[in-house]
């Protein structure tokens, strides 16, 4: 914002200034010669110095001051003697002193003003380029200034809105300092805009108050908030649906299944004599499938229930956990020769129950798929690195073909026939889900008939940026 002000002759560049000073100095010298003024003459040279100060050039001012000093000296010889020589000398010296004092003081003030102007300019630059609106207004609410961003925000040009009351822009805005709060603004075209406003107060020396308001357009943020809320509600509704569905599956599907199996058994136990061999075989098939369905339902429910659970966050001793699980599962494998080894595992941060499930599935699988071996070798190891800890369960079992590795972690996906190894194919899907929700990865490596190793990683506490955080699995 530039101001156009009429320029005086001495403000029109160095040449103009020099000429003006010279002329005025000359006039004073003439005065000196023909009219006996004494000290007054010297004082008149101050005018020349003041003129020079207007140019704001340090060098020029000093030159002029020096020049005037010389002329004061010259005047001493040129002018008519006016009294006692030492008095005259004293007068001239005084005049000299005054000229220099004015020059020096003037220069200092120029410097200070220069600094102030530069500071004002840099602040102005900040305000002008700020993306948020900066509006200042007085106690009466009238706008004193508004930056470009602010004017644009409300749909005005700055000239249009200056001097209007600030309540025209933000109806609830009052002349008091206030911390950031959300208010509604009114644009020129009548539409409203959500704003975040912070007001600062400045007290002027005469007791009046100025207020500076920083105004930010938060329409984008508000829109995101609404969307997020809507999505959250949708998720909650879906979860409620799933809850109801699971409950229904749990009760309603199992009841008839119980009857099927129960009464098939009754048939088997009490009426087997009436059935021939084929009849009994058929009955066996009925019972076997009832059992299979029951396990499927159980697994599906567990999978879905874990899917809705909140992942707790606490330190977990993985070595202890894995050892516990191994002991427990090993106890069920009677008559087998198993050589397990569990190395020291890095501590994890996560949900103990869910991580336990991971070990149960991985170690359980290792035990299951090594059934054909005379000696089952199962190794559990782990490694710590800055960001993440990695764990592995290795076995010397039947392994699998890496060609189908991407199916491994799918729900109900199996790479072996249920004739050879029982299972519903949900175990690894569960492992993957749990590990991924803890922020880790899971993968496997194997060769057919040459064992398999299952790896998973978990982020360390540091990598998680710890604090107890709950997350939906």
């Amino acid at each position: 914002m530039k101001r156009s002000v009429p320029r005086a002759p001495w403000q029109r560049g160095p040449v103009g200034a020099a000429i003006t000073c010279a002329l005025v100095a000359g006039a004073i010298l003439a005065l000196d010669k023909y009219i006996a003024l004494g000290v007054a003459t010297g004082v008149l040279y101050v005018v020349v110095v003041l003129l020079a100060l207007q140019t704001r050039r340090r060098g020029f001012v000093l030159l002029v001051a020096a020049g005037c000093s010389v002329l004061i000296g010259v005047g001493f010889f040129v002018s008519a003697p006016l009294g006692i020589p030492w008095q005259v000398l004293a007068n001239r010296s005084l005049a000299l002193a005054v000229v220099w004092v004015v020059a020096v003081v003037g220069l200092r003030r120029n410097q200070a003003e220069g600094r102030r102007i530069r500071s004002e300019e840099s602040l102005r630059a900040i305000v002008d380029t700020a993306p948020d609106g900066v509006v200042t207004f007085g106690e009466d609410g009238r706008l004193l200034s508004i930056n470009d961003a602010g004017a644009a925000l409300f749909g005005y040009r700055s000239e249009e809105i200056l001097d209007e009351k600030v309540s025209r822009l933000v109806p609830e805005l009052r002349g008091t300092a206030a911390p950031t709060k959300e208010l509604e603004g009114e644009r020129q075209d009548g539409t409203t805009v959500p704003l975040e406003v912070a007001i600062g107060e400045t007290r002027l020396p005469d007791g009046r108050c100025w207020y500076t308001a920083i105004v930010r357009d938060i329409s984008e943020r508000k829109r995101s908030e609404r969307e997020l809320l809507a999505r959250q509600r949708e998720l909650e509704a879906t979860n409620r649906d799933l809850d109801g569905f699971s409950y229904s599956v749990s009760h309603d599907l199992r009841a008839p299944l119980r009857a099927i199996d129960g009464f098939a058994k009754v048939l088997d136990e009490e009426h087997a004599a009436k059935l021939d061999q084929d009849g009994r075989r058929v009955l066996g098939i009925i019972r076997k499938n009832a059992g299979k369905m029951a396990r499927l339902i159980d697994d599906l429910l567990a999978f879905s229930r874990l899917g809705r659970r909140r992942v707790r966050s606490s330190p977990v001793d993985m070595t202890e956990l894995a050892t516990d699980v191994l002991e427990e599962l090993r106890a069920l494998e009677n008559g087998r020769t198993i050589e397990p080894s569990i190395a020291r595992l890095p501590q994890a941060v996560g949900d103990p129950a869910l991580l336990r499930q991971v070990w149960v599935n991985l170690i359980g699988n290792a035990l299951k798929y090594t059934r054909g071996r005379d000696l089952a070798v199962i190794e559990v190891a782990g490694e710590h690195s800055g960001d993440e800890n990695s764990y592995v369960v290795k076995d010397n079992g039947v392994g699998f073909d890496m060609q189908y590795a991407d199916k491994l972690f799918g729900v109900f996906q199996r790479l072996h026939s249920p004739k050879d190894f029982e299972g519903t194919g949900v175990g690894l899907a569960l492992v993957q889900r749990i590990v991924v929700r803890h922020g880790g990865r899971v993968w496997a490596d194997a060769r057919p008939d040459d064992g398999a190793s299952f790896h998973f990683t978990l982020p360390t506490a540091a990598a998680r940026g710890e604090g107890v955080r709950d997350e939906q699995v």
Binding site: R254, A259, D261, F263
Partner: protein
């Protein structure tokens, strides 16, 4: 003599089929001679408090154990449990909840309301029989029922 005096086990089960299987299991083990079967919660309460159609029953003769299904018509399992625990006369009656649900909230709620134990009806008949079996034996042989 009132035939209800000899009742040792009250079976509260709305499903005919589940009831039949339970009764078979009990009979097989020769556990309990007298089982009375009611099919909803209201009847169960009437029986235990000797009112309604059971008003001629002697209220001081409690069954040794009540096998209570969770989902029942009219008055459901948890409501029956609450009513029994609220009354001095039936507060220490051994009650075993039976249900097909492993859902946590049911389990917690039942324990909060004072059930003695909780059994998930398994699908495989053997396990089902074993669960009832264990209950039957425990309650009739081990637990000296507290009779007021």
């Amino acid at each position: 003599m009132n035939k209800y005096e000899e009742v040792e086990l009250l079976l509260v089960e709305d499903s005919e089929e589940d009831a039949e299987l339970t009764l078979r299991a009990l009979r097989q083990r020769n556990l309990v001679n007298q089982v009375h079967h009611v099919q909803d919660g209201a009847d169960a309460l009437d029986f235990l408090f000797a009112r309604g159609k059971y008003s001629h029953r002697d209220i001081n003769h409690h069954p040794k154990v009540v096998l209570l299904d969770l989902k029942l018509p009219k008055v459901d399992g948890l409501q029956v449990l609450t009513a029994l625990r609220a009354d001095e006369r039936t507060r220490s009656l051994p009650i075993v909840m039976m249900t097909s649900s492993k859902e946590d909230r049911d389990l917690e709620r039942a324990y909060e309301l004072g059930v003695n134990s909780y059994v998930v009806k398994p699908v495989d008949f053997d396990q089902f029989a074993k669960a009832v079996d264990a209950l039957g034996m425990y309650w009739t042989l081990v637990n000296e029922s507290h009779r007021p």
